[in-house]
Amino acid sequence: MTLAKRIIPCLDVDAGRVVKGVRFVDIRDAGDPVEVARRYDQAGADEITFLDITASSDDRETLVQVVEAVAAEVFMPLTVGGGIRTPADIRRMLNAGADKVGINTAAIHQPEFVEDAAERFGSQCIVVAIDAKRVSDPGEPPRWEVFTHGGRRSTGLDAVAWAQRMAHCGAGEILLTSMDRDGTREGFDLELTRAVSDAVTVPVIASGGVGGLQHLVDGVVEGRADAVLAASIFHFGEHTIAEAKAYMAARGVTVRMQEAP
């Protein structure tokens, strides 16, 4: 009897619709967020993450309504990320029914925002999202930097040190995305995942690159992640959550098996 490793489907939301970018360019529509969330709830997903990729503030209001609609029907943890920049943004999402918010760029511009948010709302609802890219040359000791703008702009920050700093500021969880792997289906950057997971005492969610079920196992066993986030392998019906959990359980990973309702 122990804590289960979590499987978290991630829904990218643009103007109220779920989309998933492949390397953030070729975007396909995977449906209505409430419907998708309900399906994942029934399928036994452990949490759901909404990532708002909307650019305009009008459409951000749409996401608040989406969160409200989902939280009225789906009784599992919900995380909302994307465009969270102020305490008012956090308050609005929590009031809409989110349990956690993901903070990314705003943390880089203003690390004290994370400290303030953790103090005000509690660490349990503050997830710091880190987009990391390998900057070392092959043969060198691996090193990753934190990137913004979908992986196009380097901040010069060392990703492992940044994760430690954010945990120290009160982040309750780190959502770690490899921008090298995101959309590639080649699996997580396991060295990155492990380096960060070993460096912080808070849970780490591995993200970026899942193309098959073995990648999920690798993420928790080799990457030492506490949770795995994936999108396309679930959204397009290649694998069910139940298949993923059965696969992981058969390889010795503790997962929560869904009780029949």
Partner: protein, 215 residues
């Protein structure tokens, strides 16, 4: 019509608790409230809460709700959730030591301190965040239809150590065994979030909406 008061003292996601209650009982009148008279007038009361204990206690005191909570926790079907469970104890080690409501004897501890004292390596990260199983240590009306060892969603860095069997209805393990459910007379309190625990959690909440407050 039965009214359920969800005490709103500015800590946490109250909407989820209210929505979950409405979901399991469409006749339930759920009031998210800080008004003492509404809380005193309700048939059932829920004390939710996430965040830090010092903030929790100071908000309860600022809103003059600490006395109201002590009062209703003695007489009505009462459900504490997460921090709303920890607040029932005498004190917490959190925030350098914080006095709590004192309805249940004991001290809330930090996992790191518990692991160190037990001489064990941490079994994983702190907070203890995610799904874990709860052993039902005794029968209770709120366990009706909820299978033993069901999975529930937890998120906490502090925990309630094992209490006597007369105060406990559920135990979970994270390196060490800790109290997942306190039950005494009309009080039931869970460290986990039933409103976030899918089927098992909704079953427990449905039982609460029908509970008369006896064991």
């Amino acid at each position: 019509m039965a009214t359920i008061a969800v005490i709103d003292y500015g800590m946490g996601n109250l909407r989820s608790v209210a929505k979950a209650l409405e979901h399991v009982d469409d006749r339930a009148r759920v009031r998210v409230t800080w008004e003492p008279e509404v809380i005193r007038g309700a048939d059932r009361v829920i004390l939710p809460g996430v965040g830090a204990i010092r903030e929790c206690m100071s908000e309860l005191q600022r809103l003059e709700l600490d006395g109201v909570v002590r009062e209703v926790a003695r007489e009505k079907p009462f459900l504490g959730v997460c921090l709303g469970m920890q607040a029932l104890l005498g004190e917490s080690e959190e925030n350098g030591g914080t006095a709590a409501l004192g309805l249940v004897p004991g001290t809330v501890r930090h996992f790191a301190a518990g692991f160190a004292e037990a001489g064990m390596a941490a079994p994983g990260k702190v907070p203890h965040m995610g799904w874990n199983q709860v052993r039902q240590t005794r029968g209770h009306p709120l366990w009706a239809g909820v299978p033993d060892d069901s999975w529930f969603y937890f998120v906490h860095s502090y925990y309630v150590p094992l209490l006597g069997p007369d105060l406990t209805a559920g135990v979970a393990t994270y390196g060490l065994d800790f109290t997942a459910v306190i039950a005494r007379e009309n009080i039931f309190a869970t460290q986990f979030h039933p409103e976030k625990s899918q089927h098992a959690g909704l079953g427990l909440l449905a039982n609460f909406t029908r509970w008369d407050g006896t064991d």
